[in-house]
Symmetry: C2
């Protein structure tokens, strides 16, 4: 009889360090003598029985994987419905796991994924299949409940602070006769964590970013334009950071693009140019805007060492929890102290994480709503510390893992949804 | 009688390494016992007699300056008109230089600046003031004539190739159920050098970027959409890099924003979202787009070592040429060999650089117009090699120079244009 296997799957938007977690899972499981399969494209790969045997990857490849952005095995945006409505999906999942003697499922994602993990854990119990189901945290949005922070966030935070700093030096040097206002749009659909991270670049009130527009603070056009005008008068120029999730007081997104994703979220990506146009029209100032979009969450070349260590640790602990049979939990980061920064990993129940969203606490927002407080800075500061870049090749480009990703021979008929 | 002084001024859009040149000028002049003044905000600072005494900066500050993005002394977009129409401007410039016994002018900029340097050189001769005028190359656009490449370009090239590589890993991992097409807009008003640099990320035909849209190739919507569709069918996703200067066959910019800058150039910045919308509407695929804007030209954290060395060398040589009395020249980069990459600095006459624009040679464009050739790759490859990041502080952010920038006491009445 073959040894029980562990299945690792990636879900939702990827990060600069999700593969660090994958590498930790694979290495740690290997050390415990457990074979790791990875699902291609997350839960879709399980439904399709499209599984990758990671034991065929070299140790060097797994080490390189720890420094490679993106989701090496493919991720997905696919929402599993309620078990009573989508019984066939859950049955198929369990069938696939059973066919390959997979006893451990590690699902690496955000709060939607925590919910999915939980549903699979329940389905396995209901269907009498012994499965240990572990959620593994990951999201640039930093909005997971219970964990002090989320792997992926520290690196996008570092990217954002560094980019604001650098671009603002550019603006400062040209402002006398060119661009006076620079607007940078950052990710963060409902929570302003990434926008807040931009605040780390500001050391004095005249340093950038001068105005941060958070999704937590209803947008007030006139007050905003007044703040920009005052800054330009005082400093000579102004850097604005705007969250993609900025909303009008009535709840509408400032940049409403119209589309919806598989989870029913609106698709965004126009807050930056919208705000820039307001400044141009309202104040008659020359404006430039930037929307780094995926660049920010894939910027492994600027990854934070703290984030890298978190991502590795949750992968390692997830394997340990799995082997200890602790189903329905997620390894989360618990902060012990700010200065010096100390932390540990704890197990937290998935049902207290699933479908919840951690917003920026009120105490992290400056009274005027356009900046961060000292408490926020104390929280954020350790997360961007240290550099964990990949090695660069002789060609001047980062060296990323090239995996073989051999497919495990299927043992079941094709999945009906695909076969149709 | 005080020793003759050298005046250094920055002009036009800044780069990740223009301050490297500034640092080289200051250090090299110090070694020759020549005092360096810097004009605040380029030529405007000369007209206003707003000069900075760099001898008050510490050696450590100048060393940090070599790794600081932006233009430390301020740059400007201000076009000096023809000498016969704007005689007063030229007279004032020479008066200011004379008042401070400035005998060497080093003007660090692009082709507009080469033209300005030349006009000042001629005006000084006409007005009988002994001035040695040197142009110092700088531009992310890489479009200066005579020089093999321009300091500033290698770093934006590296930023672009790395960003395309990283973001594409993100897209690849999500494409199955999310974004299928990623569009990244890059700078380059009339010449597609930066767009071409994205091509360095492509090792095989299935690697990104799959389609590059150059300003040199008139845009054909249907042919473009067909290329994207074929790529998505073959690879599963598609990365498109589009130059801000992409044009329709009739010459109109694909993203016409309407404004004009001081040089009469159109202000751009919307080719990315425009192309993205075309893909969405034309092919019905989910699209994301990024516009890094100033982030790309200020990304000192990702600067290329080759670029850093070029930037230093032109600064050093500019001082040597100045002290040798070689007025009306620019130190340019001459390539000796591709492999191994060898180069030297030569003096080139400003009148053969001013107001010219070096476009991508036809031989660098793939026959289909959507990628680069092996010849282009051979040209670009050495320029992005090596990493010349600034040191990072304990706070996880790059350490930039903080200069004192003391103003030299004016000796003349205020400039009329400011006094009015």
């Amino acid at each position: 009889m073959p040894a029980p296997k562990l299945l690792y799957a990636q879900s939702g938007g990827v990060t600069a360090v999700i593969n660090t977690t994958a590498a930790a899972v694979i290495q740690c499981a290997r050390e415990h003598g457990v074979k790791v399969y990875a699902a291609r494209n997350g839960i879709l790969g399980v439904l399709r029985e499209d599984l990758i045997d990671t034991s065929r990857e070299t140790r060097a490849a797994i080490e390189a994987l720890a420094y490679t952005p993106g989701g090496a095995f493919g991720s997905c945006r696919f929402k599993l419905g309620p078990a009573d409505r989508e019984r066939a999906h859950y049955q198929r999942l369990i069938e696939v796991l059973r066919a390959h003697d997979i006893r451990y499922l590690l699902y690496n994602g955000g709060n939607d994924s925590a919910d999915t993990s939980l549903k699979i854990a329940r389905a396995s119990r209901r269907l009498g299949y012994p499965l240990t189901c572990i959620g593994v945290p990951k999201t640039v949005d930093n909005d997971l409940a219970l964990t002090d922070c989320c792997p992926g966030f520290g690196s996008v935070a570092k990217y954002t602070a560094v980019s604001v700093l650098e671009a603002s030096l550019d603006v400062a040097s040209m402002a006398e006769s060119s661009t006076k206002v620079f607007v940078m749009e950052v990710m963060g659909r409902h929570a302003g964590w990434i926008a807040a991270a931009a605040g780390l670049a500001q050391r004095t009130p005249d340093d950038p970013p001068h105005v941060i527009l958070f999704p937590e603070v209803p947008f007030d056009r006139e007050r905003f334009l007044a703040a920009v005008r005052r800054t330009v008068e005082r400093v000579g120029w102004c850097t604005v950071v705007v969250s993609e999730g900025l909303r009008h007081p009535d709840g509408r997104f400032v940049a409403e693009a119209g589309g919806k994703d598989a989870f029913g979220h609106s698709q965004l990506g126009g807050a930056g140019p919208t705000i820039a146009a307001m400044v141009k029209d309202g104040l008659g100032l020359k404006v430039h805007w930037a929307v780094p979009d995926y660049l920010q969450r894939s910027a492994r070349h600027l990854a934070s060492q703290t984030d890298h260590e978190h991502a590795w640790a949750v992968g390692e602990k997830a394997v340990e929890y799995a082997l200890a049979g602790m189903s329905g939990v997620m390894p989360v980061i618990k902060r012990i102290s700010d200065r010096p920064y100390r932390w540990k990993i704890e197990a937290a129940p998935l049902d207290r994480i699933a479908n919840r969203e951690k917003k920026l606490p009120r105490s992290f927002l400056r009274r005027d709503g356009y900046g961060i407080t000292e408490a926020c800075r104390r929280y954020l500061a350790p997360l961007v510390r240290g550099e964990a870049s990949p090695p660069f090749g002789k060609d001047g480009l980062p060296v990323h893992a090239r995996l073989r990703k051999p497919r495990v021979a299927p043992r079941l008929p094709p999945w009906e949804a695909d076969a149709e």
